[in-house]
């Protein structure tokens, strides 16, 4: 059985348009496909990834048009439903940003900031992204 890894993701919207993905969530999904056992905690600005109904149209530069613009809510849902990666969101970070729990994609688990340290006990590895 793979080492259970907790991934605390706080980096948000860094190069997502260029890469058409959040490269951390992408990496974890790819590793899960290779047999890893990941769990994700979205904190800080990354809690915004769980907000349903987001996504900008693709970038255009002159005649060049992006055709596969990313949608982070779709990618978070993918992690939960297709990759079976549990995704937590830090509740206080949502509240700080004026995001209500009802605005999130389904399947998100809320986690209090104060409960984060205790969660570490359940994992062989903890990575901060």
């Amino acid at each position: 059985m793979a080492k259970k890894t907790l991934n605390i993701v706080e980096s948000a919207y860094r190069a997502v348009m260029e890469e058409q993905d959040d490269t951390i969530l992408w990496l974890l999904a790819a590793m899960q496909g290779a047999g890893a056992e990941h769990t994700v905690v979205l904190r800080g600005n990354a809690v915004n990834y769980a907000v349903a109904g987001q996504g900008a149209p693709g970038l255009t530069v002159g005649e060049w048009k992006q055709t596969q613009a990313p949608k982070m809510d779709r990618d978070v849902l993918d992690l939960i439903e297709k990759r079976k990666i549990p995704v937590y969101v830090v509740a206080e970070d949502l509240a700080d940003r004026g995001i209500g729990p009802g605005e999130l994609v389904p399947g998100i688990q809320l986690l209090s900031r104060t409960a984060l340290p205790a969660l570490f006990d359940d994992f062989a590895l903890v990575a901060h992204w």
């Binding site: 706080e10 984060l116 340290p117 006990d121 901060h128």
Partner: protein, 106 residues
């Protein structure tokens, strides 16, 4: 009880997220774990005695071992350290990794 190494590369002057990381260290200690906070890069700027270094003293009193990377200190000309902070070499990071302690970087 587990042992943790938390590496903090950011400083509270430029990032208001450093408080979260200090709180994480304190939360882990309160959970019965042994925690070392290793300040590196601009993270050592808070190790110079200032209005912001009280937080590090408080962490040390709560049971967190607070260390500051000697290379980063020297690079920034920081000779005097705030209460509760000790200088340490980067070997400490490798010691913790080699011992299997959960190691995080912020």
């Amino acid at each position: 009880m587990a042992q943790y190494l938390l590496i903090e590369s950011r400083d509270p002057f430029e990032s208001n997220d450093v408080g979260y990381y200090y709180d994480l260290a304190k939360g882990l200690v309160e959970g019965g774990n042994q925690v070392t906070l290793f300040l590196a890069q601009n993270g050592v700027l808070s190790a110079r005695p200032s209005a912001h270094s009280g937080a590090l003293g408080a962490l040390a009193r709560s049971g967190v071992t607070v260390l500051a990377d000697d290379f980063s200190l020297q690079e920034r000309g920081i000779a005097k350290l705030a209460e509760g902070v000790a200088a340490a070499s980067i070997d400490v990071v490798v010691d913790h990794l080699a011992a299997g302690h959960k190691t995080l970087w912020h």
